[in-house]
């Protein structure tokens, strides 16, 4: 009895790690810039296709090609920021959210169709030679691909956290989150901070997308679903905490898995969402968010 539950838990944690990673990028961008980029799911999709393409064209292992995927997404992020989002920096917070939402919506249409032209509407995914393999520990199977994905998610998260807390630039980002005007008075160029966060957010989305293409599958219309998940996880964890966001993802993933084992597959989403709402009623600032912000 305990065996299946433990096994189930393992899968829940692994899917939760991806939820977390998807949300971390969004949360960083939103926290710093107040850009609500609803094309975040599409960035994830592009990351997935980047990994997929590198794998099919050159046969590069999807985990080894992650740096390349990051480079691709950094470039995409740069172009998007310079071309579109840079124009939104000076708007008031409310208008920023509005306009970025609209631009994001337009972008998601464009990206979806680009992907459709480039890769067709078929579902794609990466299967490596070791894809079906699993390590067995105490009778519980740990699929190597998912284990590696989770490890990469955790490492990405830790690196991001270190970057934000240990480097000068990271501290400048955190200061900008709190009070961009005061940050300007420190001599921080908030345009650069915005650009950097946007690009890092895109890169993290790209990593998440590549991992999705390894563990699950990708298709041009997948973006909206991932944007919704990322939004919910971002709020569940609480704004302003990278680690909190990630933990929020884990909580969501584990809840879904346990629900589908105990109550039934049809309820996995409902139960998770209800738990999210209950959390919000009792902690309106999310699990790890502080009221001070």
């Amino acid at each position: 009895m305990l065996g299946p539950i433990a096994q189930n838990l393992v899968f829940g944690i692994m899917v939760g790690g991806l939820y977390g990673l998807a949300a971390v990028g969004l949360s960083l961008v939103f926290g710093v810039t107040k850009f609500l980029n609803v094309a975040h799911g599409e960035l994830l999709m592009l990351g997935g296709y980047a990994g997929f393409w590198i794998f099919t064209l050159w046969g590069v292992d999807p985990f080894l090609s992650l740096p390349l995927v990051v480079v691709c997404l950094v470039l995409i992020g740069l172009v998007l920021y310079k071309l579109l989002f840079a124009r939104m920096v000076k708007l008031t917070e409310e208008n920023k959210i509005k306009n970025t939402l609209l631009v994001g919506f337009g972008l998601s249409l464009v990206f979806q169709n680009m992907a459709l032209r480039l890769w067709s509407a078929d579902d794609r995914g990466i299967t490596t030679a070791y894809s079906g393999q699993a390590l067995t520990l105490f009778g519980v199977r740990f699929p190597v691909v998912r284990l590696a994905s989770l490890a990469i998610a955790v490492v990405t998260l830790l690196l991001l956290d270190l970057f934000l807390h240990r480097t000068y630039t990271g501290k400048a980002i955190r200061a900008t989150v709190q009070d961009w005007e005061a940050a300007t008075l420190m001599g921080i160029d908030i345009h650069r901070v915005y650009l950097l966060s946007f690009v890092v957010g895109a890169a993290v989305a790209g990593i998440a997308g590549a991992l999705v293409s390894v563990g699950y599958s990708i298709e041009p219309a997948m973006g909206l679903e991932w944007t919704l998940i990322a939004l919910i996880v971002m709020v569940l964890g609480g704004l302003g905490s990278i680690v909190g966001t990630f933990v929020g993802g884990l909580v969501l993933g584990v809840t879904q898995s346990l629900t589908s084992y105990w109550i039934g597959g049809t309820y996995r989403e409902i139960v998770a969402l209800l738990i999210f709402l209950v959390v919000l009623v009792f902690r309106p600032q999310g699990l790890f968010g502080s009221k001070e912000g």
């Binding site: 709190q178 005061a182 001599g187 921080i188 001070e292 912000g293």
Partner: protein
């Protein structure tokens, strides 16, 4: 050192400053006093580049700041302590101070500046590992000033440093301001606490409805009738 010439500025359709001119000489403490909403804070925002004037110009040592973005002006030597301090409450005291030295020149001498600031505000040294949000009101103001000093400014702009503080603390903060000035930092001080400010400063400007309506030495202004009646009340 700082010359403000004929500045017009405002927000959207609302003009807040009308032809403001003032000058601050090297080593001085100059006060800008006036009632609420007179345009004091707006003047400081124009000087530090947060708000670009629609007419007129700001010169630092004869160099125009018109084209400089706000974050560059810090590197050029003007540092502002905004109203209420606006410290980064989620970061530690030390991190706040480090961010004060964000500019590349200031960053090179960060450790030195840190010792200097700790020398002035020893309380901050004790609390450097604490989250800034846990500090008391007076400590927050000290941190805000200390953070501004970390950029090694030639000119320090202080916006209402006494705001919301107990009288005893106000006195303490003003002593520290004098000390900072004595160590070679020119200061432009915006205050509502006119008596305290005028006692501290060599010179002061009086601003009303976005216009400079009077100037003179601190003591002279103290005896200035309109200032007396307007800001010092019956006392």
């Amino acid at each position: 050192m700082l010359t403000v010439e004929e500045i017009d500025a405002g927000y959207k359709d609302l003009q807040a400053l009308w032809g403001i001119s003032l000058a601050v000489n090297e080593g001085e403490i100059v006060a800008l006093v006036g009632p609420n909403g007179a345009g004091k804070t707006t003047t400081l925002r124009v000087i530090s580049g947060l708000l670009k004037p629609s007419a007129g110009c700001v010169l630092l040592r004869g160099r125009s700041l018109a084209k400089e973005p706000a974050h560059r002006i810090v590197e050029l030597g003007i540092s502002q302590v905004p109203e209420g301090g606006r410290i980064f409450t989620g970061l530690t005291v030390l991190e706040n101070l480090e961010l004060g030295a964000f500019g590349s020149n200031a960053r090179k001498v960060k450790d030195q500046s840190l010792q200097w600031v700790f020398g002035i505000f020893s309380r901050l040294e004790e609390r450097q590992r604490q989250r800034a949000g846990t500090l008391s009101g007076g400590e927050r103001q000290m941190l805000a000033i200390g953070r501004a000093l970390m950029s090694k400014p030639g000119l320090l702009l202080l916006d209402e440093p006494s705001f919301g503080l107990a009288p005893l603390l106000v006195e303490q903060i003003f002593q520290m301001i004098t000390e900072i000035n004595r160590q070679g930092v020119t200061i432009l001080l915006v205050e509502q606490n006119v008596r305290a400010a005028l006692e501290l400063t060599q010179r002061a400007y009086v601003i009303e409805n976005g216009r400079i309506v009077g100037q003179g030495s601190g003591e002279a202004l103290l005896s200035f009738e309109s200032v007396r009646s307007a800001y010092l009340g019956s006392s």
